[in-house]
Subunit: 694 residues, 2 copies
Amino acid sequence: MLFFTKKCLSALVLTLIWINSLAQQSILVSSPNRSIVVTAQNTPTGEVMYQVRYKGKPVIEPSGLGFVLSKPAVSLTRFTITRVDSSKTDETWKPVWGEVSQIRNHYNELLLALQDKSGSGISLRIRFRVFDDGVGFRYEFPQQPKLTHFVVDDEKTRFKLPADHQTFWMPGDYDSNEYFYNKTKLTEVDAIAAADKEKDIALKSIIGPNAVQTPLLFKTSDGLYVSLYEAALLNYPVMHLQLDKKSLTLTSQLTPDAVGNKAYLQTPSQTPWRTLIISDKATDILASKLILNLNEPSTIADPSWIKPQKFVGMWWEMHIGKANWARAEGKHGANTQNVKKYIDFAAKYGFNGVLVEGWNEGWEDWFGNWKEDVFDFVTPYPDYNIDSLTTYAQQKGVRLIMHHETSGSVTNYERRMDAAFQYMVKEGINTVKTGYVGRIIPRGEHHDSQWMINHYQRVAQKAAQYKIMVDSHESAHPTGLHRTYPNWMTSEAARGSEFNNAPTLGITPEYTTILPFTRMLGGPMDFTPGLFRFKLNQFDSTRTTVVRTTLAKQLALYITLYSPLQMAADLPENYVKHLDAFQFIRDVPVDWDDTKILAAEPADYVMIARKEKGAANWYVGAITDENSRDLPLDLSFLEPGKTYEAILYRDAPTADWATNPEAYVIEKKTVTAKTKLRLHLAKGGGCAVQIVRR
Amino acid sequence: MLFFTKKCLSALVLTLIWINSLAQQSILVSSPNRSIVVTAQNTPTGEVMYQVRYKGKPVIEPSGLGFVLSKPAVSLTRFTITRVDSSKTDETWKPVWGEVSQIRNHYNELLLALQDKSGSGISLRIRFRVFDDGVGFRYEFPQQPKLTHFVVDDEKTRFKLPADHQTFWMPGDYDSNEYFYNKTKLTEVDAIAAADKEKDIALKSIIGPNAVQTPLLFKTSDGLYVSLYEAALLNYPVMHLQLDKKSLTLTSQLTPDAVGNKAYLQTPSQTPWRTLIISDKATDILASKLILNLNEPSTIADPSWIKPQKFVGMWWEMHIGKANWARAEGKHGANTQNVKKYIDFAAKYGFNGVLVEGWNEGWEDWFGNWKEDVFDFVTPYPDYNIDSLTTYAQQKGVRLIMHHETSGSVTNYERRMDAAFQYMVKEGINTVKTGYVGRIIPRGEHHDSQWMINHYQRVAQKAAQYKIMVDSHESAHPTGLHRTYPNWMTSEAARGSEFNNAPTLGITPEYTTILPFTRMLGGPMDFTPGLFRFKLNQFDSTRTTVVRTTLAKQLALYITLYSPLQMAADLPENYVKHLDAFQFIRDVPVDWDDTKILAAEPADYVMIARKEKGAANWYVGAITDENSRDLPLDLSFLEPGKTYEAILYRDAPTADWATNPEAYVIEKKTVTAKTKLRLHLAKGGGCAVQIVRR
């Protein structure tokens, strides 16, 4: 289905124009609803430039594409277009779990076959997929006589912006994605200054003053939202971006390996998708399934063992100084009696899992020394009777969740992974929280380099062999791979709730309203919400850190930050003091049939409604930044003619994250599809609503 | 047992002098027989210098010791000597297998406790052990408050030579030890020019024009032989040497890791031993057990499963073009029928093992591309019926030997090693030949870097868990670790017989007379002798390569190059043509009760007699370089009064490696301890003698 016409925009789904003038070839492909148009152009000197428009407005100005390879040593930046193919796809698929029960994958595709003009004989392809909510494109290297094994020195994908947009950005860093988001004009990016402010990040590998991470969010002066990211990151390093402020151009900055190479590939192969999610409605950005659609279908034939779940665990008490991971330091958290307490609590309140950190030998000397042999993942501390606890948990209908902290020593983890997973199976444990705190071994590799990307995939694959679900911490940013590996349920890969305990920047009230527009576009996050105590001096009177939300907002985060593994992060003793509010955490599902993004503005507010998987009930979460605000909640998404009981967990009128975070009101209302509520959110506040069908 | 005297050499075993003058402290320790004296000196500026004398002659002039650490960033080169301890040891131990049945470990020891003068608070120790045949010293870092984890940036061990000795050297290279030995004055070292000549080494990581490898051999103008090497190389990189020609000083040049660091250590820890084997008799150098004595005792409590053995196998036919490793290339060597032929041959002629290379999937794309996932070590090619062959071999009293070629992708091997060894156990195979051809993954690491040294140790340890014997190829130079890990039987780690097929330098006649003075000092070598066909154009008429020995020399190599795993490397069809000569290979043992180095001169000749383990029979091997020569063989090592039958496998009078290599004579003689023979060795020739007690 390929059309060659002259200066004639056809009304067909897919429109291509090829101007057969002396030099310039121009090929267009539009989204199914024609709101997005991608144009590819072969310049007289052989460059292939692409541009993206949304409803006629430029989103990406003509920008270059290409590569520099170090083996063979060739620059792939000037091409002859040898073939143009196009197609359209409109299909619907069902995720194993998620925010919605089915996803439409609807796009027009353009495939450009390119021949290197430098005489190398190398050919490659660029595949564009244009959706109504954005664009994905990737490079493909088909099997060919002149290219088998090759080494990527540099990817030359450019994103030239039409104006100096408001930008939500994080310093480019090969090892940490736990920075705070900065909100500046693009030309005001100063990654080094931003990174210097962050005193709580232990390991930084800053790229440079003008390097930023993806996902990157722009808001244009005329109200367009654009997210620049990547999808299906496999066998390739994380893409960061280098900014040229003069030309407002971002260029891909791939994470190098130990010797400075970016990727080792073998034909046939392809890059991840470079993605743009585009809309003039902020809510559309959050509703987009473009990233997931650009990932391959699930590799797990029978996913019946993969179960979304909620868990409690030994974690926050370590952060706030009640307990320690290491046994030798005293106050060892993972002792049999304490774990029993958590099992009892989980059983009593209906949680599936109990996460136990600090359970295994090695924590006395685990961090900061690039030490290779730290943990063996199979040796519990002597005061942690895992066998008896496994039995005890089973009797109570609860499962332990295993913690595999690698301390960044991934060679060590890889050589022990089979034994570690076998040990989990033996202990009846089917969920693992992995951790990568510290500098990576193989030394010289980064959390974001190709070798590590392959590692995370290996973990997902090997865990699946053992029917183990994975929650990865300190891993690279997620790019929708939970479609392909649905047992890789969630990851941290951003500043999580633990930073509430960090002394310098902490977690600002606005931060969680930015996350859905950035990090969350790639996949679920184990943010660990649910803190019910806001001054963190409970066990250490010298601590001045506070959680900068209200209690009601903590509840709302269970809706606004999706994860199929959700933790109730606070201490049992803190929940017991607020059992009425805790009821929401007990009730809130972790798997959904439908999701409606009701209102959203980055750095201001987010309101989302979700329909419980296999049930008629809905849940709404609304959060705000440091400003108090009222959000209208139109319940027209409810089934018409039916009656529901809504339980509102809302900020009390006097609530304020800074002065009165624990002031909440629980209110019941009878509602229907015609009901219109107004949710009042305190400063740093939120509202969680459970809407149960009568 | 510490003596402080003033300018007074006591007649005691151990003599120390401490001159309590204003500045200079001087401490002496001598060898048990007093021929070797080591002096350590604390200079006024705080340096600790050591010097070594042999029979009064300087071997090492005063030379510095010390370190530069990068973490903590401190230079450890100026010290206060805080304690001096000494002791002596005289013990005898029995190796699991080897050249002799028991080894005397007899030395005087000096321990200097040093305090860093720079104010870091760091202390370390230097331990000298002085034997009658040489010196070993190492650095030790005790557990201490000011030093826990540390990173070695540089070791500053110096070896200042008193004169511009004749030197046998190889270019310093972090990845290959398969160079030819060069013989020049020390000041004539040109490592880059030497390396450039070597066209047959696929992977070079040359250090610089003045960098050479250890073991390094010197011959002084007054007839002293000195080998400079290291022992017990564990958790530390290989030491190469940087030469300063002006000062005739060699300085340790440790192999860097991917980020340029040399070693990551944690107290308590120590370096390998820096060793000097010294004698005015060349034969003493070869007889030295200093390297073994400086290694720790065996870690294997029950070594009954460790069995020296001889094997045949599918290897040479691949090198010379009869067969291929890869199946897709045709002529696949490791097919069931061909392996059966080797099993039949082994069974018929009394060999224990059959090595099968190219047995597993992956050889179609295994080399040269830094590819990580190459082999899985458990998937045989479909034409190789390993199950049936295992059974067949068992019926015939033979075992297959497994080949694990890692292609340098060690991360891949490590994550599969358990499964690979389990597979071997399942197949009843208890010997593995490992291979590390190619650039190492983790990328940036070298064959000689600390990470790889740790890997080789892990292989030895894990193999022992599975009762598997190891023959490692392309591993780092051996340093006597076969004492500690006696299942790590042998290694290549030098230019082996396969280079006979290399088109440029090949293997010169003198090369095998240098090996015992260099590479073999560290441990057994899987040189794979036993070639019976000398023109290698058998399967490829265009080949011009030849084996530059006579047939008799090939037999003698079984004696002069010790290995507890010895291959009969040639094709069965070549052996069948010379069954009379082949009888020697069938008969020669691989484990010995005693060894006598009868005559030796590096680059000229070697003659060694060995007594069969648990038997009264002796075997003699004599080899020469490109010159014909006669060597007197005095059989006084035989038991007096007993009669023996000697079978001499000798060069025929007309033999010559270049013109008539296959001309040999087999001659029987009745001999006693009083017999004096004269062995005639042709150019490139040798003589093998079996002496059987009547």
